[in-house]
């Protein structure tokens, strides 16, 4: 009974984790960029949801398109005017650049919003479905579904639209893509903007279950890295797999071993899976190799 509840818990949180890792995996797989500012976009999305909820008292789920639009624009500008300037340089220079951006975003948020903890508390918080003793809170269920829906949307975009296909092409082989007429600069801008948008969306979802503060983003960047690697960089279905695996591993680990060993279990799992399948669960070979 308890184990069943915990399996459900693991799946629910796994869906959320998938949305957290979405944009991160995309940017890493396509542009070879480790975006340390990913957590900052999540944080910004969370704040957008909070402020709209605070001023207009509307349902927090309604705010998701707005937070995604806001972070989309932010990501677009950052990529176009900052990151694109150094993309051709060493991988780590871009990494450091995103680090600088992250510090800036976090601390500007601190100055604007202050570090007081905020929380989104709609009327139906705490209510849920009760199926024979198993509790499924409405909010968690909705979050899981929307997270998976966002993932589905992104996958659709990548596979069915021209821009999406261009993004996939750029990730496989930059030069070849250019040869067939893909404008790399524009594609990178679009990719990063999308990544930021989905991070913002994840942030909106997270806002409903955690306490929002300017420095909340860092943990999620780390998780995103873990899940993206586990699932296979650049693969959207892989992100879902990775998210669910990590969610389940944490919950089951806490249940069977100890709550204090969550990171440990996540890591052991990661190494284990990567040894068996070095490209991640659903990653493809030759994707995202570090070229010197």
């Amino acid at each position: 009974m308890v184990i069943l509840q915990n399996i459900i818990n693991g799946l629910l949180i796994g869906g959320l984790y998938a949305s957290v890792a979405l944009g991160f995996s995309l940017v890493w797989g396509v542009m070879n960029v480790i975006n340390l500012a990913h957590g900052a976009f999540i944080m910004i999305g969370a704040y957008v949801t909070f402020w709209i909820y605070y001023f207009f008292k509307c349902d927090p789920f309604v705010t998701i398109p707005f937070s995604m639009a806001f972070t989309f624009i932010l990501g677009y500008l950052i990529q176009k005017y900052l990151i694109n300037l150094v993309v051709k340089a060493q991988v780590f220079m871009v990494f450091i650049l995103t680090f600088g951006i992250e510090i800036f975003l976090m601390n500007i948020s601190n100055l604007i919003c202050t570090a007081d903890f905020r929380s989104v508390n709609p009327r139906y918080a705490g209510a849920g479905i009760s199926l024979g003793g198993i509790l499924i809170p409405y909010i968690r269920l909705a979050i899981c579904f929307i997270a998976l829906f966002l993932t589905y949307l992104l996958n659709l975009f990548l596979n069915k639209t021209k821009t999406g296909n261009a993004i996939k092409a750029a990730s496989l082989d930059k030069e070849a893509a250019q040869l067939v007429g893909v404008h790399i600069g524009k594609i990178y801008t679009m990719t990063f903007a999308l990544s930021a948008a989905f991070a913002g969306g994840a942030g909106s979802l997270i806002a409903m279950i955690v306490a929002i503060s300017p420095y909340m983003g860092g943990t999620y960047t780390f998780k995103a890295a873990l899940i993206a690697c586990l699932g296979g960089l650049g693969s959207i279905p892989g992100v879902v797999a990775g998210g669910l695996v990590v969610g389940m591993a944490e919950t089951m680990g806490s249940h069977f071993i100890s709550p204090g060993y969550k990171e440990f279990i996540g890591f052991v799992l990661l190494v284990f899976i990567l040894i068996l399948r070095p490209e991640g669960i659903m990653g493809k070979k030759f994707f995202a190799e570090v070229k010197h």
Binding site: Q5, N9, T114, G126, L135, Y215
Partner: protein, 398 residues
């Protein structure tokens, strides 16, 4: 680096001239505090506490040291919630800024590191928010704490619970694995034994965790009468939401640090109702002194200056800097040894209560009154002589 020497000379001469130009006597205090990073909220509250004292004392003309009036000035550095940075900055305050009196940061971890440096240089430091008993076990002579330590935080809550009718039987505790909360959780088995409770769940979670659904599910299945979730404010907010999701109906739900903080009610609204926690200070304390009056007056003036109601982080900080101020006046001279001795032998009453330190630097005689969130307000329920209301027992179901 090669240009360092001339720069230092330039800076030295500028400060020398500046010093002679300013006719006002100033006593300079230093502080390394979290103005950014994870503990920004608590760091800012602590700083506001220091600033409140500074404003009031300077309005009166300053401290009266050896017959002259000295204005109080505080130099702050942001340690970014990073202990490494904090030690570097304390060093800077002492050796570069030549400050002899240090005001402590928020939190036991930074207090640990900070006091190691100040002890090395033999500079007086007041640690208002150092709650960990280990901080005081190092034989240091130059540091003074202002609050009770974590090993007694929860004692009276367990005692209070044991008085209820029908007496509760089972206890579950889930605690964050960091210095402060480990200190809170360690004595719990002893409290359970002392009060005849059965400790049926005792687990710690990683400091960075935000999802407790797995642990809460297990706890719910054990249906404890008493549930203690030990963490700082941020994670307690998340935990309460998840406790509500899971419908854990403990007869009493407690936290050791966050309950008196106004942001708890602000973030959770009705969901914070009936949470129980200890506090170092309460707005109805009737202790008085000549600077702040009594606690209700303190609250009024603080609110006027900062636009929010203070909670014990700020108030404790004020109490600390006030103790230092009193010691400075008592010593009559800006000499570290004399001020240190003034603190060590201090026996005064301030709005914070009686101030007397033992040979380890711990403040004597502080207890932790217990409060419960009732009608959106943190309300004292124990001890009886301070209580404003009775403990609502059992906590109504979600």
């Amino acid at each position: 680096m090669k240009k360092l020497l001339p720069v230092l000379v330039a800076v030295a001469s500028v400060t020398f001239f500046a010093g002679t130009v300013l006719a006002q006597d100033v006593v300079r205090l230093g502080c390394s505090i979290s103005l950014t990073g994870k503990l920004t909220y608590e760091g800012k509250a602590t700083r506001d506490g220091y600033e409140f004292y500074k404003a009031l004392i300077n309005k009166k003309g300053g401290l009266n040291i050896g017959g002259r009036k000295y204005k109080v000035d505080i130099k702050y550095y942001d340690d970014e919630t990073n202990v490494q940075t904090s030690t570097k900055l304390i060093e800077k305050l002492i050796t570069e800024d030549k400050i002899d009196f240090i005001l402590g940061p928020y939190g036991s971890g930074p207090s640990f590191a900070t006091s190691a440096i100040t002890e090395k240089y033999k500079k007086v430091t007041v640690l208002p928010m150092a709650a960990s008993p280990e901080v005081f076990e190092r034989g240091f002579k130059y540091m003074f704490g202002m609050i009770a330590t974590t090993d007694v935080y929860l004692k009276d809550i367990f005692y209070l619970a044991a008085q209820q009718n029908p007496k509760p039987k089972t206890v579950a505790v889930l605690w964050k694995n960091d210095l402060a909360n480990k200190g809170l959780a360690d004595p719990v088995p002893r409290f359970c034994k002392d009060n005849g409770f059965d400790l049926i769940y005792n687990e710690k979670f990683s400091a960075g965790a935000s999802d407790f659904s797995a642990e809460l599910t297990v706890i719910k299945s054990k249906n404890p009468d008493i549930f203690a979730f030990l963490s700082q404010l941020e994670q307690f907010i998340m935990a309460v939401k998840q406790i509500k999701d899971m419908k854990i109906n403990g007869k009493i739900i407690m936290n050791g640090i966050a309950v008196p903080q106004p942001d708890l009610v602000k973030s959770l609204g009705k969901d914070a109702e009936y949470m129980v926690g200890p506090t170092h200070w309460y707005r109805t304390f009737k202790y008085k002194d000549s600077l702040f009056g009594d606690s209700p007056n303190f609250v009024r003036e603080f609110k006027q200056m900062f636009n929010y109601e203070p909670e014990y982080h700020s108030v404790g900080a004020t109490a600390g800097i006030q103790a230092l101020g009193i010691a400075l006046e008592k010593a009559g001279v800006l000499d570290v040894e004399k001020v240190r001795n003034a603190l060590a032998t201090m026996n005064v009453n301030t709005f914070w209560g009686p101030i007397q330190f033992d040979e380890k630097g711990k403040i004597k005689g502080r207890t932790m009154p217990v409060g419960q969130i009732l009608n959106g307000q943190f309300t004292l329920v124990y001890p009886p002589e301070l209580a404003e209301a009775k403990l609502v027992w059992p906590k109504p179901a979600w």
